[in-house]
């Protein structure tokens, strides 16, 4: 399927470094993922109390989306229903599922229970930015750029979406990676064509 759409911006978080459009914008000390995410949150000066309540997958995806959209994305160009999210990962919500399972032995934690689905991260990003468009979360062994290109292109071709945040957000213990892409119909400064090849190139930028 040929694409006439564009990747307006990208954000990759991997191996303690955050990249925006291929350039490092934050580098953390060697530390566990939760500390790294909070350190980055504070570095960028975000003010969003709910961030601290999110699980690691939620924090990682939320932070990646925040940085992805920080460079000139104007959500007023679109109606809330025209902006959607298509995310994927390998471990669904397993990182939080196991933590929740541990609490079941005592008193189950409601705050952990609400994160025992991977698509909750889509909800967190949507609530933050007011997006109400189509969304989906897929689980696959590895990042499938061809599938993401195909699925998102169909959504945009059929006017279900005008803009889409898509990509990969995965956490399991100390292993993590986020790679989010903003896809729009219009070409913007520094945008690249929305193809599987370009998705893979941006995803593997630092081979994390």
């Amino acid at each position: 399927m040929s694409s006439a759409y564009y990747i307006s911006s990208s954000c990759v978080i991997s191996d303690r470094v955050i990249y925006r459009n291929g350039l490092p914008v934050f580098s953390g000390e060697e530390s566990p993922l939760p500390d790294l995410l909070i350190s980055a949150y504070r570095h960028f000066g975000y003010q969003y109390l709910k961030f601290f309540k999110m699980d690691n997958l939620g924090k990682l995806g939320w932070l990646a989306a925040e940085i992805l959209l920080s460079g000139g994305f104007d959500k007023n160009r679109y109606r809330p229903e025209e902006v959607g999210l298509v995310l994927s990962n390998a471990h669904a919500s397993l990182d939080t599922d196991t933590r929740y399972y541990e609490t079941v032995k005592d008193i189950p934690s409601p705050a952990l229970f609400v994160y025992t689905l991977p698509n909750i991260v889509i909800g967190e990003i949507s609530i933050r930015h007011g997006f109400k468009g189509e969304n989906a979360f897929f689980v696959s062994e590895s990042f499938d750029a061809g599938f993401i290109e195909h699925y998102v292109t169909r959504l945009v071709n059929n006017d279900i979406l005008q803009a889409c945040i898509c990509g990969w957000v995965d956490v399991l213990g100390d292993r993590y990676k986020a790679a989010l892409f903003l896809v729009e119909k219009e070409k913007r400064e520094n945008s690249v064509t929305f193809t599987a090849k370009n998705l893979n190139n941006l995803y593997a930028l630092q081979n994390g």
């Binding site: 109390l49 601290f52 309540k53 008193i107 934690s109 409601p110 705050a111 609400v114």
Partner: protein
């Protein structure tokens, strides 16, 4: 009440909030501290874990969890009842 505020902060993972940031009579939900329904469940867990109090009547919830002071009064009353 300072201990209770610290317990609330720890239970709800409010990392950017200090005990002194929470007023004794400040509403905990919506316009006050901005807590939500999941937080309400976590506060019920807090009462159970820290004070061995099981909220027997769910209708009591809105009054018990209105402010830190109402929570503290509920805990005191419960402890007096059981001493």
């Amino acid at each position: 009440m300072s201990d209770l505020k610290s317990q609330i902060i720890a239970q709800l993972n409010l990392q950017d909030v200090k005990p002194e940031d929470i007023g004794d009579d400040q509403p905990l939900f919506v316009e006050g501290l901005g807590l939500d329904s999941i937080d309400a469940l976590e506060l019920i867990v807090l009462l159970q874990q820290q004070y061995q109090i099981k909220l027997s009547n769910s209708d009591e919830g809105p009054n018990v969890f209105r402010t830190v002071r109402t929570m503290a009064e509920y805990i005191k009353a419960h402890q007096a009842q059981n001493s």
